[in-house]
Symmetry: C2
Subunit: 206 residues, 2 copies
DNA sequence: TTCATTGTTGAACGATCGTACAATAAGGGG
DNA sequence: CCCCTTATTGTACGATCGTTCAACAATGAA
């Protein structure tokens, strides 16, 4: 027979690439099918790969799920930080960029909410998932804390209770985002950002 | 042999009582084990009943889960309305009673959060669960809307954007509640209620 | 007491779950 | 070219899933 181009039945990949592809598949399957999407067969199908491969690259399924949580969390956080970085040096502009990024585009996708609530539900019962949240959630509040303290300093306000301000702002953001995801008609993204803006001005008087 | 007191192997109950007991068991099992708690075997064990009984009283498992969601949702809402009713007639006092009830006691139980996030994750993928949320969630916003409009009227403020105010207050409540459940050290319940109070005063100027 | 009603039990079914593992073959180094 | 490494496949296993259903028995009515 000819030794002409024979298509290989599969393509071998370096471990790190395949791991990343499996993580992506897990996230995508979770977004589409919710909790049921986090089964080895669903994830393998999404990745176009056979069942056994997952346990070759990860010690067990929970490990892959935890890794997907970490990746998912970091990617969204990176979006926000990128938007802030692109906003220049003015503290007020940086904060507004954060709000606009938070209430726009990928973050309002209902499937993103699906992923979040499933991850949260796992955090509540799995120490491994809780550890991921504790590790990744820290930077979250720190970014907001820095933005707020920069703003306070630029306005010469010293007496502000920063911890309470961060907690309140985080609550406002999360709550508005939640409503926006659940019912896009409840409030316009621009109005949500404006509400946050207004509240910040109220707490840190200009 | 004697026909003296023979202990029956089980006790028959009227359908409505047994249904309620199964609903209670589902909620309890969900609180304890998260998503995995919502299996017929776990629920039946929690209720001290055999596996087959669930499908005798409910057409299928999803029906029982949906019913448990409805019951869970209504009970918490009833707590808030009861607190408001006990606060008298003053709009401001009624609103504060709502806040205090929201940030206290049973509502801060981490297991309650567990139940919520699992229910939410199901709402995202199940039309049946979504229907329950749409039906039960309506009263939620209406209560807050009435409380806020009463307050605005009592203060002679007519120009307030009620929809935005309700959305904002709901966001604040949910967001603060979320943080309190996730990390009780993040803010004291009284401070959370005070933040809401302060925001309402800011939106509806006294 | 006897009988009919029906709430309740528990085994059984097929489906799907996570994991293990032997067999296969892709791809690079000699 | 062959060979070695190992990424990949796919079957198999035991456990658990939701549902079905025949048999049992608790309870009230006759």
């Amino acid at each position: 027979m000819s030794n002409a181009a024979r298509k290989p039945r599969y393509e071998r990949q370096v471990a790190s690439d395949r791991r990343e592809a499996l993580v992506d598949a897990a996230i995508e399957s979770l977004k589409r099918y919710g909790h049921d999407g986090l089964s080895v067969r669903r994830i393998a199908a999404e990745a176009g790969v056979s069942i056994g491969l997952i346990n070759h690259h990860f010690p067990n399924k929970d490990s892959l799920v935890a890794e997907s949580y970490r990746t998912f969390s970091r990617r969204l956080a990176a979006d926000f930080e990128r938007a802030v970085a692109a906003a220049g040096a003015d503290p007020r502009a940086r904060l507004r960029a954060y709000f606009d990024s938070f209430f726009s585009g990928p973050n309002l996708d209902p499937q993103v909410l699906t992923a979040w609530v499933v991850y949260w539900s796992l955090v509540q019962v799995s120490p491994e998932m809780r550890a991921v949240r504790d590790a990744e959630g820290r930077g979250y509040g720190e970014v907001l804390g820095r933005l707020l303290s920069d703003l306070a300093r630029s306005r010469g306000v010293a007496s502000v209770d920063l911890d309470t301000a961060v907690t309140g702002l985080t609550a406002f953001l999360d709550g508005l985002w939640l409503q926006l995801c659940l019912d896009p008609r409840s409030i316009r993204p621009a109005d949500a950002a404006a509400l946050c803006d207004d509240w910040v001005d109220h707490v840190i008087k200009p």
